[in-house]
């Protein structure tokens, strides 16, 4: 893991759809593209499966950043319109996170097709640096201290 000086290694959770971004991530790995090891991937069949609860849960459990990525709209979705549901839900999640006081830069949602492995590797590297600059979120501890 690389380090930009603040000595912090962010933990990032990525929810990737099986058909596009997960394939891209797989290809990026098989092609041995250089990427930081900070992103833990959870595969879902469709980005439309990503319940906003999952994103909040990831932050609650200790994630410093979350990525949701699916197939390019309009036509790439394996399930025809699953990505449109993501498109509708994610702006709401963004608003919700803001209300919870989580910085905008900690949540990324977008589209990476199965053919865009380099784009995935680039996203991983750039997003890791972005979250690293924001520092630890430590939401779990904050929530606990509030409960106490």
């Amino acid at each position: 893991m690389s380090d930009n000086g603040n000595g912090f290694e962010p933990r990032i959770v990525g929810f990737l759809c099986n058909w596009c971004t997960y394939t891209a991530a797989d290809t990026a790995g098989v092609s041995r593209m250089k990427q930081t090891a900070n992103v833990d991937i959870i595969r879902v069949m469709c980005s439309g499966r990503v319940d906003p609860t999952f994103i909040l849960k990831a932050f609650v459990e200790g994630a410093d950043g979350v990525i949701v990525s699916g197939c390019h709209p309009p036509g790439d979705c394996h399930y025809s319109t699953g990505n449109f549901k993501t498109f509708r839900r994610m702006p709401m999640v963004e608003a919700l996170l803001e209300q919870y006081g989580i910085e905008k830069g900690r949540f990324h949602w977008g589209w990476i097709s199965g053919a865009e492995a380099p784009k995935w590797a680039r996203l991983v590297n750039e997003f890791t640096e972005q979250v690293r600059d924001l520092g630890p979120l430590d939401w779990k501890r904050q929530l606990q201290s509030k409960e106490d």
Partner: protein, 602 residues
Amino acid sequence: MATLTINGLEVHAEEEQTVLEVARENGIEIPTLCYHPLLEPHGACRLCTVEIIRRGWPRLETACTYPAWDGIEVRTDSPPVREARKVILGLFLARCPEAPIIQELAREYGVTEPPFPPEDPDQKCILCGLCVRTCHDLVKAEVLNFSQRGIDRQVGPPFLEKTRQCIGCGACRIVCPTGAIEIALEDAAVYGAKPLGPTGAVWVPSMQAVPLIPMIDTDSCIHFRQLDRSEGRITDACQACQMLCEAEAIDFDQQDEILELDVGAIVVATGFEMWDPHGLPQYSYGKSPNIITGMEFERLSNSGGITGGDILTAEGEVPDRVAIIHCVGSRDHNAHVYCSRFCCMYSLKQAHLVREKTGAEVYEFYMDMRTFGKGYEEFYERLQEEGVTFIRGRGAEVEVLKDGQLRVKGDDADLGRLVQADVDMVILSTAIQAPHDADQIGSMLGLGRSEDGFYAEAHPKLRPVETNTEGVFLAGNAQGPKDVPDTVGQAGAAASMTLALLDKGEVTISPQVAVVDEELCSACKTCIPLCPYEAISFMDEEEVARVNEALCKGCGTCAAACPAGAIAARHFTTEQLLAQIEGLFRLPEEEPEEVEVERVPS
């Protein structure tokens, strides 16, 4: 049915046939100049004059206009007929002394000198009016007509001026028996835009085309051009091919049809399209007609092509030196990064054809010779023995010199220096690419595309024929560049997989489907419009939503949206996913003891 005798031979005639038609049907030749089987006979040239004896009276009549009446006797070569034709040909010779067909016919009839001194030795028009009738009756352009009278009679457009009425179809030039008409086109002719395209308005792409059926090039066809020009008013222009086709196979009204079929499997074999070499201007494509693509060379060397298979430059000469440049648009970061795979082999074949047909020197500029298939390397060696010059290094630039000569520059990696060759013809082995509308079929069938734009297979090694959409298979260049044997192999595999799927009679579906816990379902119907497959229906009696497992594809969108948490996407249930998230952040209780692993020498 009428019975008549021609030169003593008893022949039968249908109603409305003329003497000329009956004679030709029976193999009796009568010379004509103004006759055309598609046009009404006109009797203008008088050359078909024959002796007709009707009710005992002999008369000289034109065979093209005389009806084949019952009981008449026709003589096509009797002394009075020969004398009459001699007079006619003498008059023609006096008018058009230089027209080859007139000279030839006159010689045949023993006329050596014109009876009068020719007025205009360059005159070629015999005023037969065949062009006028063609322009009026067939093309329906009504441009050509006679003007003036007597010795001033002439043929031409109104006032002999240029007219927009003329569509430049050239039909008049084709029918003119004496070659008196030339077509001067101001802008590029229809065929000018397609130098190696259709050879006529009715054409077959190659003699080996499958199916071997001619088609009409509607850009060139007079019928369709007139239809377009007149915005649908002229519907009966030139139907010459239809009139001539005995099988009555020509249908001008045929339209593209959309067929709706219910099928159990789909093989996508949409192929490729050629990359346009205008994209790399250093190869000067389009700046000289002698810079052609490999595909155009195929057209040129095809026996059904414009030269009948002779390899000629645009000037009609046999080339002395030919350059073939590999990888134009392939393996190039300014165009396509991938290798188009089959160009090396067709370039070698084309080099062989050039050597064989013209004996020209051939220079092949190549980066790597990818002779990957069975017998390919041997063919490459054979070409080396045939004396083709191979230059290892990308052909960098084609320059059109002032005199039209082509100069190919490139680097020779073996010599380590720049080289150039002056040649008469350059063949660019251009890249292939996914069809420009590949995304339409892609989104229709839910196919992904790999980085190169071709359709993505389900797995590059283990499932190279399947796609991520069940029941849809790939064959050929739709999936990526492939030569013929590879395409046939993949197509066979796709066909087998299709049959295997259909033969089973039932479909195996994935267990990853959504299920509704009917105890929890609050009957809010949120999930119903979300499903792209209409797999969820609402049970009115039980007041619950229910998933049809045969229709459900398992995307889980409904599970994410269910406010009651009543829908579980099997194998991706909320509990499973939450547990995964928790698992990611669960710290190990204590550091596991370090275990020393003994290295076993291998």
